[in-house]
Amino acid sequence: MKSSPYMDADRKRAIRRTTLWLVLLALAFYVGFIVLTISRAN
Amino acid sequence: MSKSMKYAAAVLGGCLPAASAFAAWELNMPLGVTDLSREIHGLHMLIFWICVLIAIVVFGMMIYSIVKFRHSKGAVPANFDHSTKAEIIWTIIPIAILVGMAVPAAGTLIKIEDMRDSELTVKITGYQWKWHYDYLDKNVSFFSTLSEDSNRARQKGSGIDPNTIPNYLLDVDNRMVVPVDTKVRVLLTAGDVIHAWWVPALGMKRDAIPGIVNEMWFRADEPGVYRGQCAELCGYDHGFMPIVVEVVTKEEFEEWLKSKQADGAEIATAANSTDSSDATMIVAQAE
């Protein structure tokens, strides 16, 4: 895999970037819904 | 055969008007005893027949293709892979059918949610695992639990054949009694966990949620005894908190109310004089 022509530096960077965005998306949903519940309670 | 005879006998014993509802091998939703429940039944049948029609067309096409275009019979495949016209048609037609279903459904929904002009209000509270009925402004309230017969038979390894118990698991000690042709408003809440109050013949089901008061209504047009069950998982004995509603004439209802009021007064007196913890509890709950 390491020597594979697939894993050039550009592709690695792109993979890292996509991963980061998706992790942030998941976190946003987790935190967002807890905040939503708190804001709806009296 | 003899088995179904036994069920039939049980049905007569329960004086249920829609006798077929309790027969064995029942296939469909029984017809209820309120306008709304019949309207819901009508909607149910309408959607059902629409689905049957669509099924005939779609399954017909599938079966035709499976029978006609067999590789083993030397069918030669065509090579088309789309048809915009066909795809537009089978997007538009379902939308039209859905609109046809949604209009009557919305009409019924609006009627269901119309709580105005009720003539009697009963507050029903769900507890683990019994129902409490409180006739507001009538000074009548009581608990309703699974009948003694059913309760004995339903214990694990009781050795009692449930078929020998009339209305097994659908019978209670104290029935909810309401007058016929009267718009009864039901206020629903719960004391511990969520329950749901449901009598199929009255056509409605609604959740009883602690801390929230839900509303629903029904107007039964035939005297009789109608049975239902808790319909929201509420713990260990969820399967054992039935509901029995007895619909009586208005005169009978007034009499029943009077006798219940007298009972209530008696219990209150007993509680004052004897200090029995049981009686005290009943009074506390009655308030």
Partner: protein
């Protein structure tokens, strides 16, 4: 693309390179290869299918006759709860993840998944999750018994099983999210040159959309159960009316997760069926673009229909109307899919190998589940159907002869590719017929029970429900036992069998890159990217 070239390269590669599989247990524990991890996911799912199935048989055995014969009501409730959690999170989802691991890199022409070590971590996390969940059956106070929906306040009465179950859900959720991230990253960054998004196989498309659903809703569920945990142990009152919270709010959050979850289970199934029907109809998939757009439309609608699971909680009229109309709308893209599959078979040249048999059964029986779904979407009628066996029949129709049949179809479709062996066709057809007969015997009568008024989640019932319950229980045992045949076929095929060709299926037009690789495929699927026209 050049098949010969790929093969030559793969063989060359394996000859002088230690990138082949490690020996013994290290191959599996430290697996980073997408095929090894895919295999582990599939075997895990098979195991869970049997554990969850055994629980279903406890349920059906108790319901065989009226009266309580075998278990007490508390244990019955535990069985319904854990059966559902295991089947949803342990059987169906890992099975589709296993198929994704095996097939997505191959179908897009990549050597492996983009994040192989995270792939390993997701799998072992899932095992940890289900160890915890199964442990929760044996702690003080009994296993979780509040239904898989875990509604408060009831769920807060659970004993020590609650923190275990919640932690299990957190781990399984984290595992799913990592799996989903891996799939999206792989699809977005690892496609072979020329493989534009609208040239991807439909299975890859459905998984891309499913992965986005997972990333959106698994954290929501994790948030909901976190709040349950703090309500139970740390004095918060998110869902407790007495403390200013709202028990109905939990249901809204749960179903905001729960409804997309349904599509998380069924969209990959749509993808599998969309691969199989064209192959055995010897005709291209009808309306590829429409299939992709319909999948996206279903995914979008899945976010705005959640409250149709809670018509009876006492929503305002406007809310009920909105959720009823939005729900009915889902029938449109779903209908497009069913019509397109039918149009694919129309004027084809159909043969009936086991994968096609399962796909055709899926087509009929999933559609039946769709019809009952349409009926349930009509709010006034739902007031009668809600929480009865009609609902049980509905979701089992879309999940068992729906999702599970599609997964079995996928296994029968790709098993020769994975193992390099053909399986016993005759036996697989016996497995199919037994499954399809018993699954209907099991679930069809439940429609009748529900309409006649039998509530779900009850361990004992009134005597008028006795006859159909008996039929349903017989169907359940028949269906359960038939699946032993499935296990036998799979393991027999792994061990031996006639050599499968690269193309495997003698179809007029092989579609998909998987058929250009050897059977079994080389360890790193595509070392050199294939050219896609």
């Amino acid at each position: 693309m050049s098949t010969a070239h790929t093969h030559a390269h793969a063989a060359d590669h394996e000859a002088h390179d230690h990138h082949g599989p490690e020996k013994g247990w290290r191959r599996w524990l430290f697996a980073t290869n997408h095929k090894d991890i895919g295999t582990m996911y599939l075997l895990f799912s098979l195991l869970m299918f049997f554990i969850g199935g055994a629980m279903a048989l406890v349920i059906r055995a108790e319901l065989f006759q009226p009266g309580l014969q075998l278990v007490d009501p508390g244990f019955f409730n535990t069985m319904t709860t854990v059966h559902a959690l295991i089947m949803v999170f342990g059987a169906v989802m890992p099975a589709t993840v296993g198929l994704a691991n095996w097939m997505i890199p191959i179908q897009i022409g990549a050597p492996d998944m983009a994040l192989p070590r995270m792939n390993n971590f997701s799998f072992w996390l899932l095992c940890a999750a289900f160890t915890l969940l199964l442990l929760s059956l044996f702690v003080a106070g009994g296993g979780p018994a509040s239904g898989w929906t875990l509604y408060p306040p009831l769920v807060l009465q659970t004993g020590n099983a609650l923190p275990l179950a919640i932690f299990a859900i957190h781990l399984a959720g984290a595992s799913s999210i990592m799996g989903a991230i891996n799939i999206i990253v792989t699809i977005m960054n690892m496609r072979a040159p020329g493989m534009s998004l609208l040239k991807m196989p439909v299975f890859v498309w459905t998984w891309l959309i499913t992965a986005y659903l997972l990333i959106a809703v698994m954290p929501v569920f994790a948030g909901a159960v976190t709040m349950l945990l703090t309500d139970r142990f740390f004095g918060t009152t998110f869902f407790e009316a007495a403390g200013g919270g709202d028990p109905v709010m939990y249901q809204h959050i749960f179903w905001f997760f729960g409804h997309p979850e349904v599509y998380i289970m069924i969209l990959p199934a749509f993808g599998i069926v969309s691969e199989i029907i064209p192959t055995f109809s010897r005709k291209p998939l009808f309306g590829y673009d429409a299939m992709v757009y319909a999948t996206a439309a279903i995914a979008f609608l899945s976010f705005i229909v959640w409250a149709h699971h809670m018509f009876t909680v006492g929503m305002p009229l406007a809310g009920q109307l909105f959720f009823m109309l939005a729900t009915m709308l889902i029938a449109v893209p779903t209908g497009v899919k069913v019509f397109n599959w039918t149009a694919t078979m129309f004027k084809g040249s159909i043969s009936f190998e086991p994968p096609m048999l399962f796909a055709i059964a899926f087509l009929f029986l999933f559609t039946i589940g769709g019809f009952s779904g349409l009926m349930l979407g009509v709010a006034p009628a739902d007031f009668q159907y809600h929480d009865t066996y009609f609902v049980v029949a509905h979701f089992h129709y879309v999940l068992v002869p729906g999702a599970v049949f599609a997964i079995m179809a996928g296994v029968y479709y790709w098993l020769p590719k994975w193992t390099g062996h053909m399986y016993n066709m005759k036996l697989a057809k016996v497995h199919f017929w037994l499954s399809v007969i018993f699954v209907n015997l099991l679930f069809f009568p439940q429609h009748f029970l529900g309409l006649a008024g039998m509530p779900r989640r009850i361990p004992d019932y009134s005597t008028q429900f006795a006859d159909w319950n008996m039929v349903s229980s017989i169907g359940a045992f028949g269906f359960g036992l038939s699946q032993l045949l499935f296990v036998y076929i799979i393991f027999a095929t792994i061990r031996s069998g006639a050599k499968a060709t690269d193309k495997v299926w003698d179809t007029a037009k092989p579609h998909g890159l998987e058929w250009t690789l050897s059977s079994p495929p080389p360890y790193h699927s595509f070392e050199v990217a294939p050219e896609v026209k």
